[in-house]
Amino acid sequence: MRNDGRPIPTLEVSAAQQQIHLHTFFILQEVTATSRHYVDRLFDPDPQNVLQGVIDMKNAVIGNNKQKANLIVLGAVPRLLYLLQQSSSSLELRTECAVVLGSLAMGTENNIKSLVDCHIIPALLQGLLCSDLIFIEACLRCLRTVFISPVTPVQLLYTDPTVIPHLMSLLSRSRHTKEYITQIFAHCCKTPEHQTVLFNHSAIQNIAPLLISPSDKVRMQALKCFSVLAYENTQVSMTLVNVLVDGEQLSQVFVRMMQRDKPIEMQLTAAKCLTYMCRAGAIRTDDNCIILKTLPCLVRMCSKERLLEERVEGAETLAYLMEPDVELQRIASFTDHLVSMLADYFKYPSSVSAITDIKRLDHDLKHAHELRQAAFKLYASLGSNDEDIRKKITETENMMDRIVSGLSESSIKVRLAAVRCLHSLSRSVQQLRTSFHDHAVWKPLMKLLQNAPDEVLVMASSTLCNLLLEFSPSKEPILDSGVIELLCSLTQSDSPALRVNGIWALMNMAFQADQKVKVEIVRALGTEQLFRLLSDPDTNVLMKTLGLLRNLLSTRPHIDQIMSSHGKQIMQAVTLILEGEHSIEVKEQTLCILANIADGNTAKELIMTNDDMLQKIKYYMGHSNVKLQLAATFCISNLIWNEEDGSQERQDKLKDMGFVDILHKLTQASDPNLCDRAKTAMQQYLA
């Protein structure tokens, strides 16, 4: 039934369109003629006639997109702009010109483009310098309409540095100037630079009083301004908390705007403001206005009663709010059935809408991706810390299937969000063991890793790291699918995050792995790349590489085998790091590698024959940091271990080098671990 039903309406539509098209073809000529007349009158020598012409034009274009397009095509805009800028024309005429231009801007996006191309913005901004309020308001109305269009480059507002201060000074002139200017700011503040410019021109002090304006529109635009100003901006957020409006703290004003009887848009925007202030550290996450007001308000925004757009924004803001705080995640997880409420985000377009209502289907389709990605984001945020919440999420109906299908969706946004969600859930040992394996999530994940933009790759490889953990049952099938090559190629990436994830995954993979896997890793990575990674500027990469080395050099036969083939290079690298300027953690990790090498049968000799290395170990045994002392002692203890061949000679040599004295000293160390370790080492001598 459904298959039969679909094409018919589309056929009807196209037929109707054709009809309209034919129809308009005839009308067009007529319209063009009258439009021509309007434009001609703009060039009349009598200024009174020109004024009347502009007024007639104003009445003709209202609500008539066709007429607007015609006039633009016929070149009315440059003439109107000329009249507007001409100081000789009367104020009335200039005002009417601005009104007509504002009306033209109300049309399609193409209209806006043509207007911007005619340099309408500088002309109107120039017009703001006039002293007449009505003219200023007309100019601002037109500017507002132009600037809120997505096709207008917002940078045009900032090219002339005098514009912003002038707008600030106009702000308090009238109710309309307040509304239009705040609306322009709210739409034109897109980057941190814009925020700073507005902030430096004391936007906060100027706009704050508007939050208690009697006009709903002004309040709303002022609120929007604050939400864009505070977004990821610590400076603005910190200032906002200390602002008083009519003796009341701004956060309390926002809380009042979140009351349930206020318009939804206002509730949502106020919640956004508080969220941004909270994330910037200006409000604590355990503040009542966050826990008891903002969070429940955002959860309400996710409910089925809200519009699709509001649900998307609500979910995204909520995800952002609670990302770093486990307590907020816990509270949100049981507020108003949020977890199951989100499952509803995946039911668009619903089967009902497809049959009954084409318009609704279109609407649903448009928002379906947005809804899904918002839900994934929120799930990711919810599950990022708490095991119980992760369990609750994975138990939601069809959750894993949805993630799996989300991973291969066409929209990058959805894919990214799905991976984030998967990554968040992959932190759970239990889920790794059960649902992840049951749904073979590694397959779409591997596919996603083949060719994806960097941001997706970062998330996906990070998830892969978790999937490659030793206890994960997915580890085997992933290994079989040629993941090593892929990870090695990631380590050569330009992005440090990708390099870390690549080497991290390799490290996880090498943990207690088979000889075969280890050899394969070393082969695929190549010693050259290993060296390059050891000199990586990113400490994280270095740490994980050392970790990989340590994991590779774990059991005795493996140590000997790897050291026999790559011993020279590894020793070189170790020397390099121990000599270099590195953090304690890095050196500790390196000493641990040395200790592992010292555990090998043949590999020992590589250290024993290297006096320089022994001196280094001696140095670190006397280091001020206990961790380094411990690692170095470990190394020595391995070298002098009794039950192995040639232990006597090694003991003697090391005794000659003065290690015994140091060990003796260390047995009196205050740290119990170090003390124990030194004692065990000393026992080797005694035995």
Binding site: D261, F334, T335, H337
Partner: protein, 684 residues
């Protein structure tokens, strides 16, 4: 003429407010009655203590009386009883280590005084809490008529299983059974079911201790559901359980619902009586809908199952953790939006015509004749009453509203000769009002005596009170007020009191001296009085003739200068004489037509005004407010209209009344939306 007529309109718009004030005061009264009843039911022991206390404390005034009557021995004994016993108690407390306990256990003879003071103190704290509770409940559920459907205020000591113990004014619940099996579960219901007129009802329970296993259930149940169970297990029973966080909807098996709860948590239960759903909150966070399709008349219920479990209820005694007002706000806007968007369809024209008719009839009814004429003209309607008749009514109403009752009665008798003769209750009411206006100094008779306001038929000041503000020096008005106090005592208190007082005054020399003072002060007052007249006649009257623009603020500033009957001695005498006439009229009425409690109360309230040195700031001072003229005015107006066979009430008022009735009917039939559709909200 025109602008003055319009200025009357806003005054009558206020009668809605005054009526709501009425209902509010009656509500408070009801509550106190209810409280008394509850107290009586709770403990008969407490009554005994009260009686003892009454006897005990009445010994002091009795002793004084006896002393006055020169029965010295008994008098001294009686007077000293209270201080002596208090002294004993204080000494006891100082000597005793754990005073309170010992006294509580010791015999009633010596400890009685202290025990009493403890009880009294406890009741003070209790009444403080009760006051807060009443206030919160009234603001949360303004639509609830507590006479019909009382709100739950505590757990019911009668409607509980025996394993449940109650304490702390029946707000704390603890388990006292064995708690071995689910068969040992026990529940308690609140004293009353949740009234539908709440719209949204909410209560909270704090877990004081989770006891052994924390098998606690919080929820709702209907009357008669087995109390040997946890809420939710049976039909018409609903609960949220702490041990597993499941919700139980009339079933032994629960559904996963929310988090578990334990010691220290505050669990709230919200019943939405509009869509018959219920959601819970934990520590101020909503957990989402738990139950739908709830039946009506459910009781708040808690159930406990293992030893050591203790929970405290908050039915509004304390502020709630969850912001329930915010949730209510959402539903109020929802309901109001529903009303605003009520579809009229194609009958829009009909509606408009109907509304215009109603407005026109309202204007005619209240005899705003010029406005009515203009309105009828612009909306093409006919006026069903003669213009002259409207104007007559208007004239009378204006007299009443400006406080010139004497003239109003006279005019009514002239224009409608038989009306007041037939309707003696109405006449009595008018006369009582006249008496009040005399006290106020606004009645024409009193005013002529004051010699300030000539009877000018055309000038009807909007706020006549401005006339009676002679400018006295503070000190003189002070002395005057103390002296008038005695006048009231002597002339208007019941006869036996009067006699007694006089006797007392004469017997005691100190008081006799006072009496002398009293006479001299009255004489002095006459001197002052001439001062007052000269000043105010120039000042006050000028003000009065241009009063229309003056608002209430200035009235308030004038308040401090107000004088009884406008401050004129002659007027006071006239007023007193009038009072006597009124008294005899009342007696006459009673003889003729039997007792009439309304009349009696009216007269009593009016006379009570004289018992205070400053009647305007006394508990009965509200009678002097010009708003109180409005009910009198409308009663008179209705009576006149009835003689013309016209409706007693305008259709608009009828419609408003009907809407209010509909709302109370909705409340009775369980439609919660009535809570957010108050008629007053629509009368701006």
């Amino acid at each position: 003429m025109e602008p003055r007529q319009e200025s009357v309109i806003p005054a009558s718009g206020r009668d809605y407010r005054s009526s709501s004030q009425d209902s509010m005061s009656s509500v408070t009264q009801r509550w106190t009655v209810w409280n008394c009843a509850a107290l009586l039911c709770q403990t008969s022991a407490r009554i005994l203590v009260w009686l003892l206390g009454l006897l005990y404390f009445s010994s002091l005034p009795l002793g004084i009386y006896l002393l006055i009557m020169q029965n010295t021995t008994m008098g001294v004994l009686m007077v000293s009883l209270v201080p002596v016993s208090l002294l004993i108690v204080m000494v006891w407390q100082a000597v005793g280590i754990d005073g309170r306990n010992q006294i509580a256990m010791s015999g009633p003879s010596s400890g009685c005084g202290f025990l009493m003071s403890v009880v009294v103190h406890g009741d003070l704290a209790l009444s403080e809490q009760e006051k807060e509770l009443n206030q919160r409940l009234r603001s949360l559920y303004p639509a609830v008529n507590e006479q019909e459907t009382p709100l739950p205020r505590s757990w019911s000591p009668k409607d509980k299983f025996s394993y449940i113990g109650l304490s702390q004014n029946n707000l704390r619940v603890h388990y006292k059974g064995h708690g071995k099996t689910p068969k040992d579960a026990a529940s308690v219901r609140a004293t009353h079911p949740i009234p539908a007129a709440c719209g949204v009802y909410y209560f909270e329970v704090k877990i004081i201790s989770k006891g052994r296993d924390g098998y606690m259930g919080i929820g709702l149940s209907a009357q008669g559901v087995n109390m040997n169970r946890l809420p939710g297990w049976d039909k018409h029973s609903y609960g949220y359980h702490g041990d597993d966080g499941h919700s139980f909807c009339s079933s032994g098996t629960g559904q996963p619902y929310g988090p578990t709860f334990t010691t220290g948590d505050v669990i709230g239960c919200c019943v939405n009586l509009i869509n018959n759903t219920c959601f819970y909150t934990k520590n101020g966070h909503s957990l989402g809908i738990a139950f739908t399709d709830l039946p009506s008349n459910l009781y708040p219920t808690v159930g406990l199952q293992t030893p050591g479990e203790v929970v405290d209820a908050n039915f509004g005694q304390h502020p709630f953790v969850f912001d329930i007002e915010d949730y209510m706000r959402e539903w109020r806007t929802k309901i109001q939006a529903q009303i605003d968007r009520f579809p009229i369809g194609e009958r829009e024209g009909e509606w408009q015509a109907m509304i215009q008719k109603m407005v026109a009839s309202y204007l005619v009814h209240h005899s705003y004749c010029a406005t009515a004429e203009a309105f009828a003209k612009s909306t093409d309607q006919a006026v069903h009453e003669e213009l002259a008749s409207i104007k007559n009514r208007q004239k009378i109403q204006k007299l009443v509203l400006s406080g010139r009752m004497g003239e109003a009665i006279e005019t009514t008798q002239q224009l409608y000769p038989s009306l007041l003769e037939r309707n003696s209750d109405l006449l009595f009411m008018l006369k009582v009002r006249q008496f009040i206006e005399m006290v106020n100094g606004t009645d024409s008779e009193v005013r002529c005596l004051g010699g300030r306001s000539p009877k000018s038929q055309d000038s009807y000041p909007g706020s006549p009170r401005l006339f009676n503000s002679p400018v006295h020096k503070a000190s003189s008005s002070q002395t005057y007020q103390t002296s008038t106090y005695y006048i009231h005592k002597i002339f208007f208190l019941p006869a036996w009191v009067k006699k007694h007082l006089t006797k007392m005054i004469l017997q005691k020399s100190g008081l006799l001296h006072q009496k002398k003072n009293f006479y001299t002060e009255v004489e002095m007052e006459v001197d002052h009085f001439s001062n007052g007249v000269s000043e105010s006649s120039s000042n006050g009257f000028l003000n009065g003739s241009s009063t229309h623009g003056i608002d209430l603020e200035e009235l308030d500033s004038a308040q401090s200068k107000r004088q009884l009957c406008g401050g004129s001695q002659a007027a006071i005498e006239r007023m007193i004489q009038f009072g006597r006439e009124l008294q005899s009229m009342s007696e006459h009425l009673r003889r003729e037509r039997g007792k009439n409690s309304a009349n009696k109360k009216m007269l009593k309230d009016a006379f009570s005004l004289l018992a205070y040195s400053d009647p305007w700031n006394s508990p009965v001072g509200y009678q002097l407010d010009s708003i109180q003229r409005e009910p009198v005015c409308s009663t008179l107006n209705s009576a006149i209209l009835e003689t013309h066979n016209l409706p007693k009430q305008p259709p608009l008022a009828l419609a408003v009344g009907q809407a209010a009735q509909c709302l109370s009917l909705m409340a009775r039939t369980g439609s919660g939306s009535c809570a957010f559709a108050s008629v007053d909200d629509y009368l701006h």
